[in-house]
């Protein structure tokens, strides 16, 4: 029997899916919360649960738990965004960061913090915390829309064409960011670079709640649209022929994608490759059915970023590495492997 057939016939033994997933995530969460500049243990958790005011309980409640929760929701958002953009662009390499969607968000925020800062400063104080996420969202949305238009002009299924279009848009966005930096006053520059450095250190419960809500909402939506995404894998024309309202699906996907990557960028800067690794791992685990890939990609993204962030916090104590560096170190080699594989599978489709 040839190896191909072998691989499809022999399956992993069926694991009881979600309890194992939740348990793994919980273990990772406890490990992550325990490690850091101050090592914590069981006693500190007990103190926290009993409401005692020990130092360990305080560190846990005010620093570690928001931080790990943030890593989980950001990771889930990035993983989900990756899976959605791969589905939308029908391209297994279409990671939002490679396509320049977060750059669009960065560009919009840079514009707001510098060129439009006078206007932004005039906003009512209550609105100001929302100004950066709103700008990021808008930027990501515009970028997503542009890409989507470009992707439809390019040869359908062309893997590299889309990535090259993303490269061009990335460069454009970064040029605008550079221009903003050049034009910025010292004070504007400081707020811009402070924001761009962004890491998961800015974790806070309200932010976790908002992003968590968006992730849960997107997952609920993708339950509804999962089968439509599968149909899209057969091509836009075929999807329309079987009855999928393709135009509406595309609008929904672009909006959700912008929401997920825009908000992730707004609160923790650029973190690449999670959106590439998570959906691939998900497909390896549960097959290509979008209805299963989407939640598993979110789960894997959460797990991956949680581990990466923990490593970033602990490798060089007391300093902290930007987590994006770690994910890039991990993800870039994987991209090469995937490119090679895509070349083999798609053949002339460049």
């Amino acid at each position: 029997m040839d190896a191909r057939l072998d691989r499809t016939l022999i399956r992993w033994p069926a694991l009881p899916g979600w309890p194992v997933a939740v348990a793994l995530l919980a273990v990772a969460l406890v490990l992550a919360a325990n490690s850091g500049a101050i090592r914590l243990g069981l006693a500190d958790w007990q103190a926290l649960l009993n409401g005692e005011d020990t130092q360990g309980a305080l560190v846990l409640a005010q620093l570690r738990l928001p931080r790990v929760a943030f890593a989980i929701v950001v990771g889930a958002a990035l993983g989900l965004a990756g899976a959605l953009s791969q589905g939308l662009f029908r391209n297994p390499l279409a990671e939002p960061a490679l396509l320049g969607i977060p750059s669009g968000a960065v560009c919009a925020v840079a514009l707001m913090l510098t060129v439009l800062s006078a206007w932004a400063g005039g906003l009512p104080a209550a609105w100001r915390p929302f100004a950066v996420p709103a700008a990021a969202l808008l930027g990501a949305w515009v970028m997503c829309g542009l890409l989507q238009g470009l992707a439809r002009l390019l040869v359908p299924g062309a893997v590299a064409g889309l990535l090259l279009a993303g490269l061009a848009l990335n460069a454009l966005a970064m040029a605008i960011v550079g221009l903003c930096t050049y034009l910025a006053t010292d004070e504007q520059l400081r707020s811009l670079s402070f924001w761009q450095l962004g890491s998961l250190a800015l974790a806070s419960w309200p932010v976790v709640a908002v992003l968590g809500g968006v992730v849960v909402g997107s997952l609920a939506l993708s339950r509804r649209w999962g089968q439509a995404l599968n149909a899209l894998a057969l091509g836009e024309a075929v999807a329309a022929q079987v009855g999928v309202p393709v135009a509406r699906l595309r609008r929904v996907l672009v909006l959700v994608l912008a929401l997920l990557s825009g908000l992730a960028v707004a609160w923790c800067g650029l973190i690449g490759f999670v959106g590439l690794l998570a959906p691939h791992a998900a497909r390896g685990l549960v097959g290509a059915d979008a209805r299963r890939v989407l939640p598993v990609a979110a789960w894997f993204g959460a797990l991956l970023l949680l581990l990466a962030d923990t490593a970033a916090r602990t490798v060089a104590v007391p300093a902290e590495l930007p987590v994006g560096i770690l994910t890039a170190l991990l993800g870039a080699p994987v991209l090469f492997v995937l490119l090679k594989r895509a070349q083999r599978e798609i053949g002339g489709g460049w």
């Binding site: 022929q241 009855g243 309202p245 059915d289």
Partner: protein, 254 residues
């Protein structure tokens, strides 16, 4: 059932039509013509994938463009020319997509796979199948889509071009039987003249974006086919009541 009323399309500076065509329930129509003549474009107008620049395309008396995608999918299915799928979806999933509009997946999927002689492919990944197997799966998807409706429209765009002759005949027979039982109209873009003569009632010959001739399939269609393709054709009676065809280039014959 399907009516093209003055349907004209202007695309990339090229004009197609105007087409005045009517396809009735249960009819089997073959679209023939040289490469680049506009057969696929005509089929796309019929399926509603492209809206005409001028004129109307009506399905069951209603403008195709105005129908919502689900209603449209319950009345017409399309078997496309190419079968690229972006991810490694499972065979049942691909066939199940045919039930997007109709619902009630599972039994129809199994039935459709059996009709397309593809039952043995269940559980496989689509992207790991051979070209012929992929064609069977796509056929099953289309059969699943129109399995539980009557007097629908099935549009087929050269799905057989890359398959070996035995499989071509088998799949074409399956399609014809399926359409006959349900009163579906079948419109197929074909390259093979004997297939068109043997299995279809009516030939629509397309040349340079126009309908060059619209005539019943039979020996009487030969002169028109000769003009269309620039060939000398000779019909030979084949065993089993069909026709075989001998073709030569016109210059060679002269």
């Amino acid at each position: 059932m399907l009516l093209l009323d003055d349907a004209t399309l202007i695309r990339h500076g090229q004009g197609f039509g105007p087409f005045e065509l009517r396809v009735d329930a249960g009819e089997r129509v073959a679209l023939l013509g040289p490469s680049g003549a506009g057969k696929s474009t005509l089929l796309k107008l019929m399926s509603g994938e492209i809206a005409p620049t001028r004129g109307r395309v009506l399905l069951g008396g209603q403008p195709l463009a105005g129908l919502d995608p689900c209603t449209r999918a319950r009345r017409r299915a399309v078997l496309p020319q190419s079968h690229q799928i972006a991810f490694g979806l499972a065979v049942e999933l691909v066939v199940g997509l045919g039930r997007w509009a109709g619902g009630g997946g599972e039994p129809w999927v199994r039935q459709a796979l059996a009709w397309a002689s593809a039952a043995h492919l269940q559980g496989r990944r689509y992207d790991q199948l051979s070209g012929g197997e992929q064609a069977r799966v796509q056929l099953a998807r289309v059969l699943a889509q129109l399995a539980d409706v009557e007097r629908g429209l099935l549009l087929v765009d050269e799905p057989l071009a890359s398959l070996d002759p035995g499989l071509q005949l088998e799949l074409l027979d399956t399609l014809r039987a399926f359409c006959r039982e349900r009163g579906h109209a079948l419109v197929a873009v074909l390259h093979d003249i004997p297939q068109a003569l043997n299995g279809f009632d009516r030939l629509i010959l397309v040349r340079r974006g126009q309908v060059a001739a619209d005539l019943p399939a039979g020996t009487a269609a030969l002169p028109a086919l000769e003009t269309l393709f620039g060939l000398r054709l000779q019909l030979l009676p084949a065993a089993g009541g069909g026709w075989a065809l001998a073709a030569r280039r016109r210059e060679a014959a002269a």
